[in-house]
Symmetry: C2
Subunit: 451 residues, 2 copies
């Protein structure tokens, strides 16, 4: 298929169709599209129009559409337009992990009613099991749907089991082999099932050298493992080694991209999950907290500068070097901290000790500080303010070293206390480095110039 | 398995083993590990030690290890320690896409010799085909290994084909169905093959409603499609619709994480692919270019400030508000541009026109500018510099609006001319916004205070 492109004209055509209740045209259009595409369309329609469209398609397609809508929009849509009976109709067809996510978005009241209404009682039990896990651990990412066989079965019994599960388990990936106590023994791939003789025992073809996680493993850890070992699905077990579910690669990819987006937002000083198409008020609100932090920091810097007012009156050119101290401190701090954040995230190889790290970073800072100092020194010589030469060069070197130190220690500390270390590349630290840079500069000026 | 943790002690044990040529211990240790883990270990050993270890394991394991080593380190390791015969031995066992990547890292001379030495001539042809595609398009991500069947075959003929391909195609995912002209007709899942009767015709069970890409599709587009439609593999066709290869999800995940890491580096002002464990000199070099840009920008700002020297002599408190103008300009610019970069990357829904975008962003800027202005105004009132009230408030509002405008237009322009728009959240724009902020402030001060 060619990639589907959503246009304003297409939406207008659908809106007109909905207004005229042109079911034939709408059904024909929806049949051409994938559920993921229809989910995009729903974002552009109002709730009532979306509800009308959802009622036109098959329940299976409708469930798939709902599974693809972004959580916040879905919560509101469901709350305002669907009855508990309708929700239950769709949730019956969801994978258990998506169903638990959808219900966790709703109020307890709706949740309980929907679960009571589910036809598929196994699905209801699955969902109740999954709802207790937080979203950022393996238990919160796993689904209960999988094909599970006993190690003493034959290949043809295994095929029978796949047939029985075929409707529930959309993508099989691998077949999980357990013993009589439900303990995970290994996996068999579908390829092996295709190629093996019918009466071969599963225990003779299973691969017992497998990677698995416990329910409490962090989502980051699951993502790292699946990426490192190129896995499409990873089994999840409890502390006794009993098989509870599996995590599929699509959920992990969503986690990886959400995490990257979150880190970038944190670094840019945006709070919450802002998107360009949010309302003016939402956007302003998402940006204000860090702007205010920046402003308060700058006003602190203003107070520092004001206390040196006499010095400025005597050497007016001092003011000219305020920006270079602030921005160099900020830039060096961000560079340092984002390298530390990156190596915290990768966890490859042996991590150096804090002292080794600091020593290296200070060396890098000195190299950079000397180059920057030389540049600024030349400038001062050219503009003819020789009395400031020593002050500016020495201040710049100190600022670079101090900001590097801060940029190393802050993310490590944040990581230690369980806060996302990417914050250390954001406005808070930039502002702190701004103030430190300017303060250092003015102190050194005061000392060296005897003002 | 428990997650493997690399420790300094473990490396020392291996180093001792290598020194004493304790093959038995080393082989036993390597058998406990996955190739991806051994690749980590190689990073910590010197080249000769690594070569010794590589020679101890089976060729299959060795090939898997080489496939997992980070490209730059691998290029040097291969150049210094492996003969062309050794390289050919491993490349024979690589997937075609990884083989093309490995050979593209080497000199033309080595490349040609290795290809000439390959036992598997089909593999040689595959590699030559793939080496011509740039890395950032579908052709450069695809592998030639896949299971392909004709639409008029039966299921049992299909099973025969899988058996024939079993060694080359490690993960089948789906079976691709083509017609007599090799044009892609649809796919059949392994699950369907397991469940169907032996003499069923493939054309009766194939799914013809599939997502595919052409060789020239951008890697970003491939990643978006696979993520949106939850695909583990996507077929690649030429302009005539003939099946050429497939892209598997592991390569796409690597692309997604590399892209996120690159964006964060670009935003933090680090050039090249710096890692915390690079040498002091490499790290200093990766950081200098943007630091120098920042310094040059700040020196420009210094020149602007210096030209207002008389004004500072008259109203020394003016200097106190230099940092707030610079940092507010910088912060607002980054916030705005990173939201624009994010929505460029997502490409969901209908994109607003430039004018709609600008209007909205200016509105957000005015809301934020008013809040920030109020804060700064209060501060000025408290410190008792009423003559600066109007100057500072009006300047802040202008700076926020200007920086928002720059933060919107720059990434859109960069994207239009094919440059990574994430640069717009980096030091270049921050510096530009710094200067604009300070310049605006001093101009407004000059006008309003009649200095």
């Amino acid at each position: 298929m060619a990639t589907f492109e959503l246009t304003r004209e297409y939406i207008e055509k659908l809106e007109l169709g909905i207004e005229q209740k042109d079911e034939k045209m709408l059904k024909a259009e929806m049949e051409e599209l994938y559920p993921a595409d229809i989910a995009w369309i729903l974002l552009e329609l109002n709730g009532e129009q979306g509800h009308y469209l959802l009622n036109l398609v098959d329940t299976e397609v409708g469930a798939d559409i709902l599974a693809h809508i972004e959580p916040e929009m879905r919560r509101n849509f469901i709350k305002e337009h669907l009855t508990v009976e309708e929700i239950a109709k769709y949730v019956n067809l969801f994978d258990s992990d998506d169903a638990a996510d959808l219900l966790n978005e709703q109020t307890i009241e709706i949740r309980e009613k929907v679960i009571a209404l589910l036809d598929d009682r196994e699905q209801a039990r699955f969902i109740i099991d999954l709802m207790y896990y937080p979203k950022d651990i393996a238990g919160g990412l796993m689904q209960k749907e999988l094909v599970k066989v006993n190690s003493n079965w034959t290949v043809s019994e295994c095929v029978e089991e796949i047939r029985r599960q075929a409707e529930d388990v959309e993508k099989v990936f691998a077949i999980y082999v357990v013993d009589d106590e439900q303990k995970l023994q290994g996996i068999v791939s579908l390829k092996q099932i295709v190629l093996a003789r019918k009466n071969t025992k599963i225990e003779n073809i299973l691969d017992d050298d497998i990677v698995f996680v416990e329910t409490t493993a962090k989502a980051e850890e699951v993502a790292d493992l699946m990426q490192k070992y190129d896995l499409e699905a990873i089994p999840v077990v409890n502390t006794l080694g009993r098989l509870l579910g599996r995590i599929t690669i699509d959920d992990v990819i969503d986690f990886i991209t959400d995490k990257a987006e979150e880190d970038i937002q944190v670094m840019s000083g945006i709070t919450g999950e802002a998107e360009e198409d949010d309302s003016v008020w939402q956007l302003a609100k998402a940006r204000l907290p860090w702007l205010v932090v920046g402003v308060v920091g700058s006003l602190l810097a203003a107070t520092v500068i004001k206390s040196f007012e006499d010095e400025f009156r005597k050497v007016a050119a001092l003011a000219a070097f305020i920006p270079i101290m602030g921005s160099t401190g900020g830039n060096v701090g961000i560079q340092t901290s984002s390298l530390i954040v990156q190596s915290l995230a990768e966890k490859t190889g042996i991590t150096a000790s804090l002292w080794q790290r600091l020593l290296k970073i200070i060396l890098v800072a000195i190299v950079n500080g000397l180059v920057i100092g030389a540049l600024a020194g030349t400038y001062i010589y050219v503009i003819g303010e020789p009395e400031l030469f020593l002050v500016v060069c020495f201040s710049l070197l100190s600022v670079v070293v101090l900001a590097s130190f801060m940029g190393t220690v802050t993310p490590l500390l944040l990581d230690r206390i369980g806060v996302n270390p990417a914050i250390a590349s954001g406005p808070f630290i930039t502002t702190a480095n701004d103030i430190i840079g300017i303060g250092t500069y003015l102190l050194i000026a005061d000392l060296l110039l005897n003002l």
